[in-house]
């Protein structure tokens, strides 16, 4: 499974209700799920919102490990977060933090699973157009978000690649020593992406 699918998900062609829904209602759904979780911060509410966010994902016909599954690296992070808050006497906060993260992840995945990336970019460009008079460049903004969607899972996958290479060479499994190659890989990827953008004239506008 490549890192893109593992973390954020990729567009899956389909004809479900969510596929046919426009971008405006999808973003509204995203806000309706995430804002209460962020503002109210009630653990019971957040757990309910996680379930509500997960249900449409489970009905898309996407394998469960891709729809609501969490990459092990993120799972470890969430467990550590919850454990920290539990240990410091605030389990409710731990549940809220982890739950809000899952709400954001699932709500994002619903958009990405059911929206072709060009449509997503078009919607972002349209949303940014009113800000043109303030100096905003809508096309560049849309492109930046599209590149971000493609890049974040790549960098996450780079960590797995470095660990696999270390194991293959019988080297130390120290997480810290894996960090430098991951950073170098990420910087190299950023430079290559920048070169590709420049070469294709994207961002010249």
């Amino acid at each position: 499974m490549n890192a893109t699918r593992a973390l954020l998900g990729e567009y899956v062609p389909g004809t479900t209700f969510w596929h046919r829904l426009g971008m405006g209602p999808k973003y509204l759904w995203f806000a309706l799920l995430l804002l209460p979780a962020l503002i109210v911060r009630d653990p019971a509410l957040v757990v309910a919102l996680v379930v509500v966010a997960a249900i449409p994902l489970l009905r898309l016909g996407v394998p469960v490990r891709l729809s609501i599954g969490v990459p092990w690296t993120l799972a470890v992070l969430l467990v550590v977060l919850a454990g920290y808050h539990g240990f410091t006497g605030s389990l409710a906060t731990g549940i809220t933090v982890v739950g809000t993260t899952l709400v954001a992840l699932y709500a994002s995945r619903l958009i990405l699973f059911t929206t072709p990336l060009p449509t997503l970019v078009d919607a972002l460009v349209s949303a940014a157009r009113p800000f043109t008079r303030l100096g905003a460049r809508p096309e560049r903004f849309g492109l930046a978000v599209a590149i971000l969607i493609r890049s974040v899972p790549y960098v996450a996958g780079a960590f797995g690649d470095v660990r696999a290479a270390s194991r293959a060479r019988g080297l130390d499994r120290n997480l810290t020593t894996a960090l430098t190659p991951v950073v170098v890989s990420a910087v190299a990827y950023a430079r290559r992406t920048g070169d590709a953008l420049t070469a294709r004239g994207l961002g010249d506008d």
Binding site: A146, R150, A196
Partner: protein, 234 residues
């Protein structure tokens, strides 16, 4: 017409002794005009081939001398030059910015086809011309190396550049895909400038230049230049 006049490219590098930075010369005394339809640059790894190609669309600035592409300087008219010069990288994954082939070709077409539906239809048409319509919606990570390179080429050619520059386009391809890409490049109406280790690809060019140590050390017919290059590697 591509013209290079007394081009020099220096880049800062850490000094071997550590601490300070020094300068490394990647190209020097490069002067040539490139009017031929098919041009190939050959040379050993690190000879300066890729650096030279990157000058042609402004990816690399010159330290001295000047570069002209149809009268335009890539350093000061980068946007205009890049609209005219398409660039294909060695590794197509470096170049494919979108998750699927059709989305990547659509990205190229955003500048020239404003309507989403028309853009999508045109992207599918371009992919179909290269036999890639069946993989149009697949993840680029699920494509073979040859398919990725063809998608990258399709995305670059979608905006119909006048010149195509390809940096070692066949290096990562197996024999079958190398032959296929070679035939595709040969059929293009654009001027094509390639750097390559594939001497069969170079042999099909109208003119071959050999780069060594940052200089052009041979310049002539494919036969002459390839013989020179092979002799220099023994």
């Amino acid at each position: 017409m591509i013209r290079l006049v007394d081009v020099r490219v220096d880049v800062p590098v850490p000094a071997p002794t550590g601490g300070r930075w020094t300068s490394k010369t990647l190209l020097q005394d490069v002067t040539c005009e490139l009017p031929e339809r098919r041009i190939a640059f050959i040379g050993a790894n690190g000879s300066g081939k890729s650096t030279l190609l990157r000058l042609l669309n402004g990816l690399m600035p010159v330290t001295g001398g000047r570069v002209e592409v149809d009268g335009l300087d890539p350093a000061t008219n980068g946007k205009a030059v890049r609209a005219h010069v398409g660039f294909v990288f060695t590794d197509p994954l470096s170049q494919l910015l979108m998750p699927t082939p059709i989305e990547d070709v659509e990205l190229s077409l955003r500048r020239v086809v404003p309507q989403r539906e028309q853009r999508r239809a045109r992207a599918l048409e371009l992919l179909a011309e290269r036999g890639l319509d069946r993989v149009a919606e697949q993840s680029i990570y699920d494509l073979s190396g040859g398919e990725r390179q063809l998608v990258a080429l399709t995305a670059v050619l979608a905006v119909n550049p006048g010149i195509l520059v390809a940096d070692e386009p066949t290096t990562l391809l197996d024999l079958g895909n190398r032959l296929r890409l070679r035939a595709l490049l040969d059929a293009l109406p654009q001027q094509v400038v390639v750097s390559t280790h594939d001497l069969d690809l170079a042999a099909s060019a109208d003119r071959v230049l050999v780069v060594a140590g940052g200089r052009i050390v041979a310049d002539g017919s494919p036969q002459e230049s390839i013989v020179f290059y092979e002799a220099s590697q023994r």
